[in-house]
Amino acid sequence: MFRLLEDSATDTVTVRIEDREYDVPAGISVAAAVLLCAVNKLRNTPVSGSPRLPYCMMGICFDCLVSIDGVPNRQACQVEVAQNMTIEYQQGAAELQQRE
């Protein structure tokens, strides 16, 4: 899907996407991390269930909504990755019940 242009040894953080761990460069957005890790979707829409990935990367399209550290419907392109962050796909609408 996407790759890093330079192998320059930038700092990395470890994030968990679904049930796998990945090392990604620190400072990039969750949306960029997801594209780098070649996962094939972030969510299925609440309307038709169709799969989506980030589209605009600048916070306007809301196609990259995803659950981050248990909080659903966050814009992946607007959130920076952090060490031990947990990213989970969203199947349709989010539950009101949330983990603390």
Partner: protein
């Protein structure tokens, strides 16, 4: 005359009446406003609501009860004719009480409505434990609720769309983007001059919301209309968690959560204000703490069409017979009434004694 009826206004009230008239095979034209007109119908909360209504005016309690009773049949016919599913559910509805005083006041109101309707209005008061059983997410801050099985809700925008399809189905001529400059009375009817040109009809019904005062004057009627701004918010879609509407929070069939409501005198400004939005959000979160982490998607203001005593006006002009005015703020709940008995009353095809209680005469009583 080109038409039997011209209906001025294509919101929920005008559309329901035009639809009702057209179903009785009358030739009807609807003159509607533009895309940016004030439209109370687009700011609606979507309740088909009985509880508490008319506590201080018995005819309104009875009127609302009749309307709610007509709803199931009305929906069935409307959906069958148009194919538009309007998400109607007569699920019962609740009004939350946040303290003992609110509870006591609520009991009194509900009791009044019960008496006004000779007991046909039914309700229960639920304490916190009983409420919690039905709605597990409810906050401890809610001491209890009034519940009436007669309440329900609907998607108000789909209702408007269905009425519009229904008008189309019954060959109503619909003219959008109109503003009415002048109405003339002439032998056997009315001439209405608008952006469109001139249309003629034997009878005219003004359902133009805030414009009813101006149009009423053209027809010899004094329609006291008061502007009342309400602000509403809606969240992103969530999984179903609330299976019945409440007066302040309701989950739509799509999953979004609608949060109301407010009353303000803001003139003709249909915008929003941060302080009211904050209050609405605070109250919703105090009722459902889990909503704190849900994203707001839209907030808007809309102008309610109020009368001095908040009850509807149904009036036939004394000086221009054949001219009718309808003014109310419960366009959803009363839609079934408007499409049925009220359309019949206007057409002169059926009796409706109760309607006389809603004439503007009630405002002209000189103080004793």
């Amino acid at each position: 005359m080109e038409y039997d009826f011209i209906v001025a206004g294509g919101g929920l009230v005008g559309s329901a009446i035009a639809y009702g008239l057209a179903r009785q095979k009358h030739r009807v034209a609807v003159l509607d406003g533009g895309d940016r007109s004030f439209r109370a119908s687009r700011g609606n909360f979507g309740l088909v609501w009985v509880q508490g209504k008319g506590a201080d005016f018995a005819p309104y309690a009875q009127w609302t009860g009749l309307a709610a009773g007509l709803w199931p049949r009305f929906v069935e016919e409307l959906e069958t004719e148009t194919g538009v599913v309007i998400d109607y559910q007569r699920s019962g509805g609740m009004h939350f009480c946040l303290n003992g005083a609110e509870w006591d006041e609520r009991v009194q109101e509900m009791e009044k409505v019960r008496q006004h309707t000779n007991g046909s209005f039914t309700y229960e008061m639920l304490n916190h434990a009983q409420l919690k059983k039905q709605i597990p997410q409810i906050s401890r801050a809610v001491v209890g609720a009034s519940y009436s099985p007669l309440d329900g809700h609907v998607n108000p925008l789909y209702l408007l769309q269905a009425l519009q399809q229904g008008m189309d189905y019954h060959k109503v001529h619909y003219f959008p983007g109109q503003s009415i400059d002048r109405i003339e009375t002439q032998q056997g009817g009315f001439l209405v001059h608008s952006t469109q040109g001139t249309l003629s009809a034997e009878k005219i019904v003004i359902c133009a919301g805030l414009d009813n005062r101006r149009l009423g004057e053209m027809l010899g009627m004094d329609i006291p209309v008061i502007v009342d701004r309400g602000q509403i918010m809606i969240t992103e879609r969530m999984q179903p968690f609330l299976n019945l509407p409440t007066l302040h929070v309701r989950q739509t069939a799509e999953g979004t959560v609608q949060i109301g409501y407010s009353h303000e005198d803001a003139g003709l400004d249909d915008g929003t204000s941060p302080s009211v939005l904050k209050t609405l959000a605070g109250r919703a979160v105090s009722m459902f703490p889990l909503l704190a982490r849900v994203n707001l998607v839209r907030a808007w203001g809309a102008l309610r069409v109020m009368t001095p005593d908040h009850n509807p006006i149904y009036q036939q002009s004394a000086s221009c017979p054949g001219a009718f005015a309808v003014t109310c703020h419960s366009g959803v709940t009363l839609a079934a009434m408007h499409a049925g008995p009220v359309a019949g009353w206007i057409a002169g095809s059926s009796e409706l004694d109760l309607v006389n209680q809603f004439s503007t005469d009630r405002f002209n009583v000189s103080p004793a």
